[in-house]
């Protein structure tokens, strides 16, 4: 059953990681038991006073006072241990979740709408499993408390069990309230998201100008407040329903308690029930009332706890299911890159993003892939890099079939700089060096990569060169411009000196003329050395200025290769390529017609 698996997961992980704290957490439970002595000793004290038994009174008082101290100490120790434990376990699970997500073999699960919700929640609530441990401990304490209270109450007078039973409606009301809450949450989810999103946009420094210039400050607040109101609206109904139901169940409980206590009073007046028993019973009425709300909380939290743990277990199972077990040894048996009928469809999409692409490239070739936005260029780059698996067709490099080897082994032979590259906020040497982790400690190799990527200017511009921390959120960190980040990304892709394939995706989108020129020079040089070492360089771009360095050009449109050939051939052919090229180049040509519109 899900709950049992959840419990086993939490307890075993907790004990394995921090056995000492795990035991310390039980101190709190002991404290709960000790604090219940309170009521018992009070009853004894009162009964002894009624009888005039001073010795017994002193004993009860001593135990009462001692209990105050002991239970406080136990709570202190236990709570300390619990807070440490929840963080330790929480971080351990957060790390595991992050790692498993990062080592799913390909990107498909991350884009699949089937998995998106779960993955998103796992990512957003990485500390949730730590809180689940916290919940578990709280539940244990509650449960122990409930058992002790019931035991005490029964020992006082068996009729108290009726009172305990009268708290059942409260327990039964729990799932009903939970359903109402879920419905309310669902109704307020979207307005809540909108309110959050508008707030986020309002705070973002990047949009400060637009809000002021368009005069949107006041209207934005009004919009955000309206979304907030819509978020709140379903809560009124919930509050009324919940309060009424809770009040009703409480009236039932205390009514029953009054009846039972009245019965006991009747017996006490008749002399068949002692003072101790009736005092203890009255004192335990409120505790018994808490019994029901605690049972409700335990049941409610058990559900959320097993949901949380269940999500983790789902991820583990997903990773197992998706794991590939293929050889990691690469045995090259040929040369060049060949794509045969490669197709790719994004999970949940209704058409192919890449349609039957076939290509044959000899080692050392420089290929330019052009096409408009959405033509499938970046997808093709990711397929070649082995980050996505083609839905059909084969990718073969140096005689090795991509589908026949372990993905990480394939990727070792590839290097790339992606269009949406990450701005790794590490030291500059690390940000570049991770392009080839084993070599990242060697600063000579890192510098070589920096040079190859035209990024010496970046290293010179930052205060501590390779040892500068990137990202102004960190102490001594610096921010870089978009262009500087891009040059580092390209340097990163140059760390692997002789990959079989190097893919550079839209490398010059946000650079100024001078840097574009420098970079272009380096590509030409990298392409030349690549020709020597046999690396196939693939440039993915929609800026035709970069295409000049290539030996071969392919034009993609809606995932298909529509034109293929060398630059001059394609210009002469006057097809799509020529049209797009001329559109871009016309801005640089001398002309007496300043206005040219496209038809």
């Amino acid at each position: 059953m899900k709950l049992i698996r959840a419990l086993r997961l939490l307890v075993s992980t907790s004990v394995r990681i921090a056995p000492a704290s795990s035991i310390g957490c039980l101190a709190e439970t002991a404290g709960v038991i000790v604090s219940l002595l309170n009521s018992w000793m009070l009853a004894v004290l009162v009964a002894a006073a009624a009888r005039g038994d001073v010795d017994r009174m002193i004993l009860a008082a001593v135990v009462l006072v001692g209990q105050i101290a002991v239970s406080r100490v136990l709570f202190l120790v236990g709570m300390n241990a619990r807070m440490n434990q929840l963080e330790i376990v929480g971080q351990e699970f957060a790390g595991r979740i992050a790692y498993i997500t990062a080592t799913l073999p390909t990107l498909e699960p991350l884009d699949d709408p089937k998995y998106l919700d779960q993955l998103h929640i796992l990512k957003e609530q990485q500390g949730a499993l730590g809180m689940a441990v916290n919940t578990l401990l709280n539940q244990l304490n509650s449960l122990v408390g409930v058992i002790c209270v019931l035991t005490l109450a029964t020992a006082a007078d068996p009729r108290m069990l009726f009172v305990a039973a009268a708290s059942l409606p409260t327990v039964l009301a729990g799932p009903v309230v939970a359903r109402w809450q879920a419905r309310t949450e669902a109704a307020s989810a979207e307005p809540g998201r909108l309110a959050q999103a508008l707030l986020g946009l309002g705070i973002a420094p990047a949009h400060a100008g637009e809000f002021r210039v368009f005069g949107l400050a006041g209207p934005l607040r009004a919009r955000q407040a309206a979304a907030s109101r819509a978020w709140r609206a379903p809560m009124l109904g919930l509050a009324i329903k919940e309060s009424t139901l809770t009040a009703a169940t409480q009236v039932v409980f205390f009514g029953a308690a009054a009846v039972v206590i009245g019965w006991m009073v009747h017996d006490a007046l008749a002399g068949t029930v002692g003072i101790a028993a009736i005092t203890l019973s009255i004192l335990l009425v409120t505790r018994l009332q808490n019994v029901s709300s605690e049972m409700r909380a335990i049941i409610g939290q058990a559900a959320s706890m097993s949901r949380t743990a269940g999500r983790y277990l789902w991820l583990v199972e997903l990773a197992d299911r998706l794991a590939v077990d293929r050889p990691t040894e690469l045995t090259p048996s040929g040369s060049g890159l060949r794509l045969s009928g490669v197709c790719y469809r994004y999970p949940g999409a209704d058409h192919d993003a890449v349609r039957s692409v076939s290509l044959e490239l000899t080692p050392g070739t420089v290929l330019a892939v052009v096409g408009e936005n959405g033509a499938g260029k970046s997808t093709l780059a990711e397929l070649i890099a082995g980050i996505r698996t083609p839905t059909s067709g084969r990718v073969v490099c140096a005689g090795i079939d991509q589908a026949a080897v372990d993905p990480s082994a394939w990727r070792q032979q590839v290097s790339a700089a992606f269009q949406d590259h990450v701005r790794f906020e590490f030291l500059v040497s690390e940000t570049v060096g991770i392009g080839d982790l084993p070599a990242s400690a060697d600063s000579d190799l890192v510098l070589q990569a920096v040079r190859a990527g035209a990024a010496e200017g970046v290293v010179a511009a930052v205060p501590r060169g390779l040892d500068t921390q990137l990202g102004s959120a960190w102490p001594d960190g610096v921010d870089l411009s978009g262009g500087q980040w891009q040059r580092l990304a390209i340097a990163r892709s140059m760390m692997r000196r002789t990959p079989l394939v190097r893919v550079l995706d839209e490398p010059t989108a946000a650079l100024d003329a001078l840097t574009e020129h420098q970079l272009f020079d380096r590509y030409a040089e990298a392409a030349r050395t690549g020709r020597v070492s046999g690396t196939i360089t693939i440039l993915v771009t929609h800026r035709f200025s970069t295409v000049a360095a290539a030996d071969l050009v392919i034009v993609l449109d809606h995932g298909r290769i529509v034109e293929q050939g060398a630059h001059d051939q394609l210009i002469a052919a006057n097809g799509r390529y020529a049209e797009l090229y001329n559109l871009q180049a016309r801005g640089y040509r001398p002309t007496t017609e300043p206005e040219e519109t496209i038809s």
Binding site: R193, L198, S408, I434, T546
Partner: protein, 613 residues
């Protein structure tokens, strides 16, 4: 919450923060707060009455001559007080939830107002300002803050119950009641301090480690780095670093928590002693029949019940945290000159002008706080209706110049005027600008709202005309619900647009602003992420309508500037130092000048095999 070093050592400060928090509560929900407060007091009163009546009941049953009538009487009172207390609790829980929701809305509004109301952004984007905003926004995600919003009512109930118990004890022997009060207050302070340490990242050395660890785990789990992690095989390395950082941080924190707990030992001993004395006296009195059994029962419950005065539980800790965050935001607001509570949202000021605007910049010097001057000595006049291109290398200050024209930053020296008025002091003239920034605003609202945002959503604004001019009407025609479709996949019926499609919406927005009276169309690197066709379409649209407005085009791609009326080149004459206008004129003139512009143009054009003279 990161970097939260608010240990409530100073109770005066803590009290003023709590008062601020209560002011906020009464501001967002005055009626409901009154109800919640009353219910809290009534709840505690019911508890006290129950305590007293249960004692009297026991007493009535234990006297030698039992009077059944009295016993039943007290049973009735006891039962009714229990029932009423429970009903009040049930009702107040619902009321408290409603108040908490309003509080959160109010807090969001406060934060949003702080970010969008100040005229200039210097204080908002300084280190301190950015941190303040970040922290305030982060609080909304933190469970402790959320818990604390509604915690004050429980606190009130407990304190009232505690004082009721105090009155009972002090009524018996004041010299036992008052020391106990003092003991519990001291214990409360010590408890609060320890809990603060437990819930707080006060270990200064551990905070940066945790931030770093969080960053690494977000990289690992997130979508943005997924490609590079797989390509370069970074998962193991990232996980190893993450674990290392976290373990070190926990060691520091656990040590500090242990110390804090040990410091509670003395207050606990003192309390133990006071309680022991109280009980000793009580027993002596009972043994000598100075207190009845009824009173004994009541007094023991009251002595134990005084612990409510020293109670430091989740309610107290979380309320303290919420109050601290609120007071931090309010303090930040007061440095910006903004009031608390916040004013109602103002209606947008009408733009009482139309037609192309004139921009005049004289002797402008500006550097970001703490940095070198970015612009130094810029002189520029843009005549109404002119189309001006501003070019320069990356980082030359082109975007900064636009920010200054928009009145976002105060120049260090020199003046900027639009139609002769200063955009910083005159918010209305700021609205004469219709900008399209490189990463422009993408509102998660309907397409129509995204466009009419150009006219601040004033009633009667139509989007159709602007959409037709910019080509956004074609985009809208393809949307599932037309112009009412939300432009974000996060919402039902919503859809995501591509870069080129968004570009058209942004242009429509700018045109709507022009229709409403804007006189400057400002484009900042508008085509950086566009493909060829979209870029061409954009510039064609812009050029078609240039007579209605002054156009400012900022770019580094020189292919698009040739059709501007005038081109200015921003750059610094020496290698460092701020930029100013180093060349200006028409394209042919600048090529003839053979200076910076000509060099840049030749570089870019050479790739196309066309080299101009």
């Amino acid at each position: 919450m990161p970097g939260n070093s608010a240990v409530p050592g100073n109770s005066l400060v803590a009290r003023s923060r709590l008062l601020l928090h209560v002011r906020m509560l009464t501001h967002v929900a005055p009626g409901l707060s009154a109800i919640a407060g009353t219910l809290a007091i009534l709840r505690s009163a019911a508890v006290i009455v129950a305590m007293i009546s249960s004692g009297r009941l026991v007493g009535a049953l234990s006297v030698t001559r039992v009077e059944p009538a009295r016993a039943w009487q007290w049973l009735a009172v006891c039962s009714i007080s229990f029932v009423l207390g429970a009903v009040f609790s049930a009702i107040s829980r619902g009321v408290e939830e409603l108040i908490s929701a309003r509080y959160l809305s109010g807090y969001q509004d406060l934060l949003l107002d702080t970010a969008v109301t100040p005229n200039t952004v210097e204080r908002l984007q300084s280190d301190a300002g950015a941190t303040a905003l970040d922290q305030a926004a982060g609080a909304l995600q933190h469970w402790l803050f959320l818990r604390g919003v509604g915690g004050v009512w429980g606190m009130i109930a407990h304190r009232v119950a505690g004082f009721g118990a105090l009155i009972i004890v002090a009524g018996w022997r004041w010299w036992i009641g008052l020391p106990l009060l003092a003991g519990w207050l001291v214990m409360s302070r010590a408890s609060a301090r320890w809990r603060s340490i437990v819930f707080d990242d006060t270990e200064q050395k551990a905070v940066p480690l945790r931030h770093r660890a969080d960053y690494l785990s977000r990289l690992l789990a997130g979508r943005s780095a997924a490609k590079e992690i797989r390509l370069f095989g970074l998962a193991d390395w990232l996980l190893g670093s993450y674990r290392e950082l976290w373990r070190t941080a926990m060691r520091m924190v656990a040590g500090r928590r242990g110390d804090g707990a040990r410091r509670m030992a003395l207050p606990m001993l003192v309390l133990l002693l006071l309680n022991a004395i109280a009980f000793a006296v009580l027993i002596t009195d009972a043994a000598h029949d100075r207190v009845s059994v009824a009173s004994l029962t009541i007094l023991v419950q009251a002595v134990l019940g005084m612990s409510a005065l020293g109670r430091q539980d989740d309610d107290e800790t979380s309320t303290g945290r919420t109050a601290t965050e609120l007071s931090r935001l309010v303090a930040f607001r007061s440095t910006l000159g903004l009031p608390f509570p916040v004013c109602a949202a103002e209606r947008p000021i009408p733009v009482r002008a139309s037609g192309a605007a004139r921009i005049e910049i004289r002797g402008l010097r500006f550097g970001y706080p703490g940095g070198a001057p970015v612009l130094d000595g810029v002189d520029l006049v843009v005549e109404p209706g002119e189309c001006l291109a501003v070019v320069g290398v990356n980082g030359a200050g082109k975007s900064t110049l636009l920010s200054l024209i928009c009145g976002l930053w105060r120049p260090d020296a020199g003046t900027i005027t639009i139609d002769g008025r200063d955009p910083i002091t005159d918010p209305a003239v700021r609205q004469r600008i219709a900008p399209i920034f490189q990463s422009f605003l993408r509102l998660p609202l309907s397409a129509a709202d995204n466009i009419t945002a150009g006219n601040a959503w004033r009633s009667g604004t139509s989007w159709q005309q602007a959409a037709a001019i910019s080509g956004a009407d074609q985009v809208i025609a393809e949307l599932p619900a037309g112009a009412a479709t939300p432009l974000s996949g996060q919402f039902t019926g919503g859809t995501e647009l591509s870069g080129g499609q968004w570009q058209r919406v942004a242009l429509a927005r700018a045109i709507a602003a022009i229709d409403a009276g804007a006189g400057i169309l400002a484009l900042d690197e508008p085509s950086a992420a566009l493909d060829v066709r979209a870029e061409v379409a954009l510039f064609d649209s812009v050029l078609r309508h240039r007579d209605r407005t002054t156009t400012l085009l900022i770019t580094h791609r020189l292919s698009s500037v040739r059709y501007a009326d005038r081109i200015v080149v921003l750059g610094s004459p020496d290698e460092d130092g701020g930029a100013r206008v180093i060349e200006h004129g028409r394209h042919d003139e600048l090529i003839g000048l053979n200076g910076r512009y000509a060099e840049m143009f030749r570089l870019q054009a050479s790739r196309f095999g066309q080299v101009t003279r």
